[in-house]
């Protein structure tokens, strides 16, 4: 069977298909569209965090001098601003992720969907517990 290709060759015998033109900025038109794009953009800040974490680990393994320099880098106003924005986005990612969980996991008990809160609740609780454990290890060290 012939697949429908992304960019088929057009000839004068085969006219161009009709496709509605959508503006590149379609997601600015409505708050729910913008929220969707912001949620997707959060992945860039997830990647930035990983890059920063790798820089931190690399400085940590090079010695106290390099680690001190990395701490100075983290105090640079631009880096602080980037990290504040990143914190907003990673929290936005977490909240939207946990709110999506009940939609991804359709758990039925006795033929009926269980309330969304039964899935969201444990997720938020686990988030709080994991955060507390990580904070305990770092603050105690």
């Amino acid at each position: 069977m012939n697949e429908v290709r992304q960019n088929p060759a057009y000839t004068e015998f085969r006219p161009r298909w009709y496709r509605a033109q959508v503006s590149t900025w379609w997601w600015l038109g409505r708050w729910s569209y913008l929220k969707f794009i912001l949620r997707e953009i959060s992945s860039v800040f997830v990647a930035w965090f990983v890059a920063e974490l790798l820089l931190a680990l690399s400085a940590l393994s090079s010695g106290p001098g390099d680690y001190g320099e990395f701490q100075d880098f983290l105090r640079n106003p631009f880096v602080v601003a980037t990290n504040v924005v990143s914190l907003f986005f990673v929290i936005f990612h977490a909240v939207t992720w946990f709110n999506l969980a009940p939609k991804a996991m359709a758990v039925r008990v006795g033929g009926k969907r269980i309330p969304d809160l039964w899935i969201e609740g444990p997720n938020y609780l686990a988030w709080a517990v994991v955060s507390a454990i990580v904070a305990w290890f770092l603050l105690r060290a």
Partner: protein, 115 residues
């Protein structure tokens, strides 16, 4: 029909979404804001190094880097497709996203192995 590798990429995306949601906010807040800016007492260099050197910490940090990077790769790829409608640049976007995630994972493995 050609077998698609999309399910594998989606599972990595999904696992990364979970790991990132649970671990990144607290780590970002403490390590990159609260400690360097002096809001909370930072751990000493030696204690942080010995904490990171524990096998369990290395494993968790590796999993965090690996899954989060593939989470980024998948989501960013679709942001470019849907947001900017540049799916025709797939041959550029696909290797950039997943190749970037692979390189990042290799760097993470190297650093965590040798730390």
């Amino acid at each position: 029909m050609k077998r698609s590798n999309e399910p594998v990429l989606w599972v990595l995306f999904s696992a990364g979404g979970v790991v990132a949601a649970f671990l990144i906010p607290v780590l970002l807040f403490l390590l990159f804001l609260a400690f360097p800016l002096g809001w909370l007492k930072p751990p000493s260099y030696e204690s942080l190094l010995s904490l990171v050197r524990l096998p369990i910490t290395r494993l968790v940090l590796f999993a965090l880097c690996f899954f989060s990077l593939f989470h980024w790769a998948h989501r960013f790829r679709y942001t470019l497709y849907d947001g900017l409608q540049i799916k025709h640049l797939n041959q550029l976007i696909f290797p950039f996203c997943y190749g970037g995630a692979l390189v990042g994972t290799a760097v993470a493995a190297y650093i965590l192995w040798n730390i």
